[in-house]
């Protein structure tokens, strides 16, 4: 078989194929799409990639990726300062921002996962406990993933907080909450799995009180 692809094409295609969710065929297709773009566009794109991390820091309070420390969210006085959402990854911050959450964040950097060799010490739980003992926090929303590992991580954090509350390091007035589990909006009941439906049943909300109960 003759070597068909020019080296530069093959190189970019291999690099693209090393990205998650991009297979070798998609990588080829993307490379040939890029071959159709102007050189100046390619340079701009390449420059954006090369310099991606050049001016980035980690906010030393909430551990979001940022250009300035503290980050724009921590500096924004218009946000609710007494509410912290604990998330696993920076991408979760973007998801909550889209949902118009207006409090602060704490990025753990992952989830407890023995299978992937991630233990509680690898996450920013110590830093969270410290924040809770120093900042005036009224509500902590455990917004970890609704998965086995996410639940375990939330449970671990909850227990760690209660431990610190018993030792008097964190005020007992702190409210801890967890994002509601239930049917996704716009979803189809018949396609929901049994665990999700089970959670939706458990967390069902009464929309009209029974009169007997109401008059008690």
């Amino acid at each position: 078989m003759t070597k068909v692809l020019p080296r530069s094409v093959e190189r970019l295609s291999q690099l693209l194929a090393s990205l998650p969710s991009i297979g070798p065929k998609t990588a080829n297709r993307l490379t040939f799409y890029l071959l159709g773009r102007d050189k100046s566009e390619l340079r701009e794109f390449g420059e954006a990639l090369s310099s991606l991390k050049d001016n980035l820091l980690i906010c030393q309070r909430c551990f979001i990726i940022t250009e300035e420390d503290p980050c724009p969210i921590c500096r924004d006085e218009g946000r609710e300062q007494s509410r912290i959402a604990v998330v696993e990854e920076p991408l979760d911050v973007i998801a909550l921002e889209r949902a118009r959450y207006n409090g602060l964040y704490h990025v753990l950097g992952g989830q407890i996962s023995p299978l992937n060799n991630v233990s509680p010490e690898d996450l920013r739980i110590k830093e969270l406990i410290q924040r809770l003992s120093q900042e005036h926090v009224e509500e902590l929303i455990l917004a970890t993933d609704p998965s086995l590992e996410g639940e375990a991580t939330a449970l671990f954090i909850q227990e760690r907080i209660e431990e610190n509350q018993r030792e008097g390091k964190i005020p007992t007035t702190l409210q801890i909450s967890r994002l509601a589990r239930g049917l996704p909006v716009g979803g189809d009941l018949e396609y929901a799995d049994e665990l999700t439906i089970g959670r939706a049943l458990e967390g069902r909300q009464i929309i009209r009180q029974n009169d007997k109960n109401g008059s008690k």
Copy 2:
């Protein structure tokens, strides 16, 4: 809403989202994946992108993208010189190479598509006719897409060749073929669409001759 994403992150994410088959969420996910890579890897990737087209040419015989003109395929004397596969795009060359095709190519640069404003003059059909009148070609395989536009393109080329044959410009010994249409290998009959099944029926191959016919 606070501006959360650093500019460099947003910029790369937007550029990635401008690629085909990559939506804004995938673009975000890819960007955050890239944030986890070393700066040196990002520079290598960026450089591969920036310089993608720097040393590329178009082979003036078969119109493949190449580093040298003529391209490695046209220069490879081990390949069958009297067979040309007419394809729409350079990606089709890679597909045929994988299938161990061992002849030469002619890249049209697209397919006739009035909807997309691509007329026969936009494709390298004139160049193909010229090759057929100058080179010693025994078989021309019309390997355009098995789609409406691909069929129309193949038909157009076939008519143009016959016209030139009548005028004596192309030898009438030239054999013209088309890739077989039928069931994809590994596919499932019940999932095949009726057009494909129809083509598979038309092109069915007799594996055992009827004795009566055989003794005729």
